[in-house]
């Protein structure tokens, strides 16, 4: 953990930041929406702010856009302080959750809106609007009005309207939230393609963990106004810093436990029910030993059946309680003699049918069980 932090610092010194938040604080009617956020978003990065509703992620985005002024702290874009800079003077453009297209204007006029305000020469305007609409494959519908478009098409127009201004940063507020699943997958792919081709910094707010994991270069996970972790999708998923993240992103088996003293690389944790689990503690616990922890084991890291490998520290006998068949994989619930119920995900490779009530063995390695602060 400390290693990754150091690596990040090294990388940060020679990368230019497009967006910097320094100790940003926001209070609404006496309630704190955002607490002391520090955030550095690199040039050209696809950065996501992920969190449940009400965690302050949209407020954070709105402070970057300039719709909200921070109560305390500072927002910088390309090193320039944005204090008292109104939204219309900021080099950012937003794709709104509701798209916020102008209903009284055609698709073409919606996209041309920003350029017309900047008194862009007519020939350049024609070319840029045309290019932007082509980019999002909406050039054939340029004369339509927003009310005549489907949700997905409106989304594309909203994207073109933001991109045509060539902003330093594109802000996306739950951009795919209103689309149905299939269309969302399609647009996700197009968003990544657009981001790669344009090389513009994207900052996206989402509550959809899958979307954040699949699209982003880095993710900041927010909870109750604070950033709990910043990292790559792999770091966030494989090495969550807190139980909240382990639970919010993906699924996990969480058990309160007490740590014994460290023996080599691993340590034994005892759950309240008396179950002993070998865990690989993170750097945090080596430096600052706390005994009360939450043990987190991802259901897909657990195997069904028996193993002879001496490297597997955790093996248990149990009874299969529930089987939920989901097509490409199956969820199992295994009850251990201690009374703990462990969820296990297995991909469906064989057609072997396991029935509830059967005795079963489960195992996982110590490095797959994380000890997280309570």
């Amino acid at each position: 953990m400390s290693q990754t932090v150091i690596q990040q610092d090294v990388a940060e010194t020679d990368t230019m930041f497009d967006v910097e938040l320094r100790k940003v604080f926001k209070v609404y009617n006496g309630e704190t929406a955002v607490r002391n956020i520090d955030l550095n978003i690199r040039q050209g990065e696809f950065f996501s702010i992920l969190g449940p509703s009400g965690c302050g992620k949209t407020t954070t985005l709105r402070m970057i856009a300039g719709f909200e002024e921070p109560t305390g702290g500072e927002v910088l874009i390309r090193g320039q302080s944005m204090a008292n800079v109104p939204p219309y003077k900021r080099p950012v453009n937003t794709v709104f959750q509701s798209y916020a297209l102008f209903g009284h204007m055609s698709v073409w006029d919606n996209v041309a809106f920003g350029l017309r305000l900047k008194d862009c020469p007519k020939s350049e305007l024609q070319q840029r609007v045309g290019e932007s609409l082509e980019l999002v494959k909406m050039d054939s519908l340029a004369r339509r009005f927003p009310a005549q478009l489907s949700g997905g098409q409106q989304q594309r127009v909203a994207l073109a309207r933001a991109l045509v201004n060539r902003p330093t940063v594109v802000l996306l507020d739950e951009p795919l939230g209103a689309l149905d699943l299939k269309l969302r997958k399609e647009m996700q792919l197009e968003l990544t393609t657009l981001h790669r081709d344009l090389g513009v910094t994207f900052v996206m707010v989402t509550h959809d963990q899958e979307e954040a994991l699949s699209l982003s270069d880095r993710i900041a996970v927010m909870n109750i106004g604070k950033i709990e972790q910043i990292g790559t999708p792999t770091e966030i998923y494989e090495q969550p810093c807190t139980a909240f993240i382990a639970d919010f992103i993906g699924d996990t088996n969480l058990m309160p436990a007490e740590l014994a003293t460290l023996q080599g690389e691993t340590v034994e944790a005892t759950t309240r029910s008396g179950l002993k689990i070998w865990v690989k503690p993170q750097a945090l616990f080596k430096e600052n030993p706390t005994r009360e922890v939450l043990v987190s084991i991802r259901p897909e890291k657990i195997q069904l059946g028996s193993t002879d490998s001496s490297e597997i520290a955790n093996r248990y006998d149990g009874t299969l309680k529930h089987v939920m068949y989901l097509g490409n994989h199956t969820h199992y619930q295994v009850e251990l003699p201690s009374g703990d119920v462990i969820t296990v995900f297995q991909t469906n490779r064989s057609s072997e049918q396991l029935k509830p009530g059967m005795p079963i063995q489960i195992y996982w390695s110590a490095s797959d069980s994380l000890a997280l602060p309570v």
């Binding site: 856009a65 937003t94 509701s98 916020a100 305000l117």
Partner: protein, 300 residues
């Protein structure tokens, strides 16, 4: 047996088909009949009567004989009458414009800028004058505008010479604008209040200053409300009688006064009065049609 419905009344008795058909036929008659009869007696019938009067001078109403056929309509084109029609239009359009110019900033401020808990109170404050009779309000203006009235006293206080206000065009505009401004404010407010604030944010995000987003987003987005308010005030002012009569005097004769004169005044030409009425009804009907087509229906 235990499975029977707990309330036997719930079971609907079978109704013969013909009875159901009869019901279907009777339902609109029962529901719409009373109000339909009311409209027929007090709106459709009188209108038809006026149409008849304008075309065929009938002895049955005891009116003195006048020109026959469409002569009454040709008569309207005499400069004397055209001038009155033109003046009415001028008053109506002018008042509509003044109401719009004065009402929009007020409605805009109440809907978008005023603290939300004050909004209803401010609106009630604007509607309050509507609860007194329009005649009473016109008389109130007379006391303000007459030679020794409040306005001239105020001018005198600042050392300015008093003016003749009453029985002139400005007085009519002042009185009518005052009378219809609340309607305009209410309708514009309803339209502005619906305005999606996110559109203003989007405009600002795309580089529009407040002024630019006002002209490029707020005004076009509230156009249906502007149309509704404008047409409603236009319709009301076209037929207004009391205010121009009391504040404008004889030199400011409007269509309503002209019609009145034809029926009850010295001239007594019912045929001409009816033809002018028909023209007024036509003008108002066209305005209403426009209102229904282009106006913001929610705001009305």
């Amino acid at each position: 047996m235990t499975l029977t419905s707990p309330n036997p009344n719930l079971a609907e008795p079978a109704i013969p088909g013909w009875q159901r058909t009869l019901r279907k036929l009777l339902q609109p008659v029962i529901l719409l009949g009373p109000s339909g009869l009311w409209l027929l007696l007090l709106l459709v019938f009188p209108t038809l009567l006026i149409l008849e009067l304008s075309l065929i001078p009938g002895a049955r109403l005891g009116n003195p004989p006048g020109p026959y056929g469409i002569g009454n309509y040709i008569e309207i084109f005499k400069p004397v009458y055209l001038q009155v029609i033109w003046r009415s239009l001028y008053f109506a359009l002018g008042t509509t414009l003044f109401c719009l110019l004065l009402g929009f900033p007020v409605a805009y401020w109440i809907a978008l800028k005023a603290p939300s808990r004050w909004r209803n109170l401010l609106l009630v404050g604007f509607i309050l004058p509507l609860w007194t009779s329009s005649l009473l309000r016109a008389y109130a203006w007379i006391t303000i505008l007459r030679p020794s009235g409040l306005l001239n006293s105020l001018l005198g206080f600042f050392g300015l010479p008093g003016q003749e206000w009453l029985n002139r065009t400005p007085a009519v505009f002042i009185g009518m604008t005052y009378s219809y401004l609340p309607y305009m404010v209410l309708i514009l407010y309803a339209s502005l209040e619906k305005l999606d604030r996110r559109l203003l944010e989007a405009a600002s995000d795309l580089g529009a200053t407040q002024q630019q987003s006002f002209w490029r987003v707020t005004v076009p987005q509230t156009m249906p409300g502007i149309a509704a308010g404008g047409l409603l005030v236009l319709i009301a002012t076209l037929g207004d009688f009391a205010v121009p009569e009391l504040l404008g005097g004889a030199s400011s004769m409007t269509v309503s006064r002209l019609i009145y004169n034809q029926f009850l005044g010295a001239t007594r030409n019912w045929g001409l009065g009816s033809s002018i009425s028909m023209i007024l009804i036509l003008g108002v009907s066209i305005s209403i049609a426009l209102l229904l087509k282009y106006g913001d229906r929610d705001a009305i």
